[in-house]
Structure formats: structure tokens, C-alpha cells
Amino acid sequence: MEYILNPWPWYISGPLITLVMVILILFGKNFGMSSNLRTLCTIGGADKYADFFKIDWKSYSWNLVVVLGAIIGGFIATQFLSNGAPIDLSIETIKDLNTLGFSNAGETLLPPEIYSWDAILSLKGMSILIIGGFLVGFGARYAGGCTSGHAISGLSNLQIPSLIAVIGFFIGGLVMTHFILPLIF
């Protein structure tokens, strides 16, 4: 039980993510989470505004069920399968985060400096979540996939477009982490 309650090492987690992908392939589907955002747009009536959303959303509804499961999985993992152990971040990371003004790094999954109600009720905090989310949604669709669709499924299928997209993920991530975050915090 202790093994389950503690954070799982990468060599357990990584292969289990492959398992999720393989199960979906064997179910005749593909592992890709960001397409749900397009489905949500279509359900919300976006097909009236752009052809891109003229899809039969019912044929993608299986993926919305995966989303529902993911929410439940997040709940189960934190409520029943965790012992509250802090994230074992590297010393350098904690030091760098302290310099940026993040205290208690790793004690929760997300930094309260960004995600607490206090933070999001400020203009800065609200802007971070809105801009961050917008870029993720826009970029994922422009690139035709996200971490699951490109980095996991696409690379597993040895697709060059996915490699280009993942290189893009890293260009963006490195610029944000090394140059923009220090300007914001």
C-alpha cells in the first residue's frame, strides 16, 4: 500500500501512460486530449461561426467520457491514493522558485501563488490563468495536438510532424520558463 500512496517513480508512470494509449488504440480510438476542446466548442454552437467546428460531435463523445473519467481519477488519486508527501523537487528548482517568490514549492501540486483564490482574484493572477489557458487551447489546435496527441501518440508512431510540434513545445516552454516567468514574478 505504501508503494501506491507514495508518488510513483517515472519508470512506473511512463509505461502506465503507454498502457492508456495502447488501450485506446485497441478500442479503435486515438489518445489525444486537446481535441475535446474543439468538441466543446462545437457543442457550444461554434459551428455557426467557423467550418472548422462543423463536426459530428457525437462521434467524439467517447473522448468526453475519458475527460469525465480523468476528473474522477484526479479525485480518487488525491482523496484515496495519496499520503500528502511533498513533491521531491530538486534543490536547484526549489532555490530558483524561492528567488522568484514561490515559497513552499512542492507542498501542493500547484503553486498557491498562481492558483489560490487570493491569487486569481488579482489582475495578475487572473491574467496568468486566462493567457496561459488561451495559449494552450490555441496552440494545441494550431499544432494539431498536445502532449498526449503529439508527444506520446505521435512520437510513438514515429511521426515527423509530432517531432516538430514537440520541438515547438520546448521552444515555447523554455522561453516562458527562462525569460518570461522571471519578468512576471
Partner: protein, 137 residues
Amino acid sequence: MNFLKFLFVGILFGIILVKSEAVSWYRIFEMFKFQSFHMYGIIGSAVGLGIVSVYLIKKYKIKSIEGQKINILAKNKSFINYLLGGTIFGLGWALAGACPGPMYILLGTGVFSMLIVIAAATLGTFVYGLLKSKLPH
């Protein structure tokens, strides 16, 4: 049955991503700082095993559980949309610390402010749909 099997996959996915800490903003920050092997180990082992799995599925022409031919969708052969879109995605990923799977999972862990990120990501997708024909692909 169809509903339950996809629900099960989602639950499995959610549990794995929380327990791996891949849903953590801190882990994403640490990854982009190259200060830990953790995230590279997760993605690397997932992809390594994924390459073998996909290869075997194709080689032995394994059928889906409904007996259908497995068809892994190939992506269009273009370049600039992957690089530009990927870069935009990466900027958001490192800022919000959540990509399109984890944002739902984190909602399940009780972080309700994630609803703002999900709403903004849906808006981002909508704006992409509006601008698609004007963007380089």
C-alpha cells in the same frame, strides 16, 4: 458498456497523471529548467515503450476489440503550423503548468480555479477555428 470502458480509461489516466506528479506546475517548471530527470523519464519511457507497442500492433496487424482494422491517423505533412502552434502551446504550458489532459484531472483534485484555464483554453480553440484560414499552415 461503451461508456464504462472509456470512463475506466479516463479514471486510469487521471490516477496515473496525479501519482506521477506530471500534473504539477512545479514539475513542468523543473523540466524546462533541466533540473531533474523525472519528467524526461516519464515521457521517454512512455514513448520508448509506445514505439515498440505501435510497431507490434502494426506488424501483427492486431485488430481492435470490435474486430476492426487499427488505423493510426497520420498527421498532415506541413511544417510551420506544427512549429508555431507548438511554440504557442509551450508558452501556455509553462505558464499555466497544465496541458489539455491535466487541466481536467486537476479540476478533479479540487482545484476549481482550473475552470478558468479550461474556459480560456476552449476560447483559444474557438479563436483558432475563426482564424484558421488566415494563419500559415
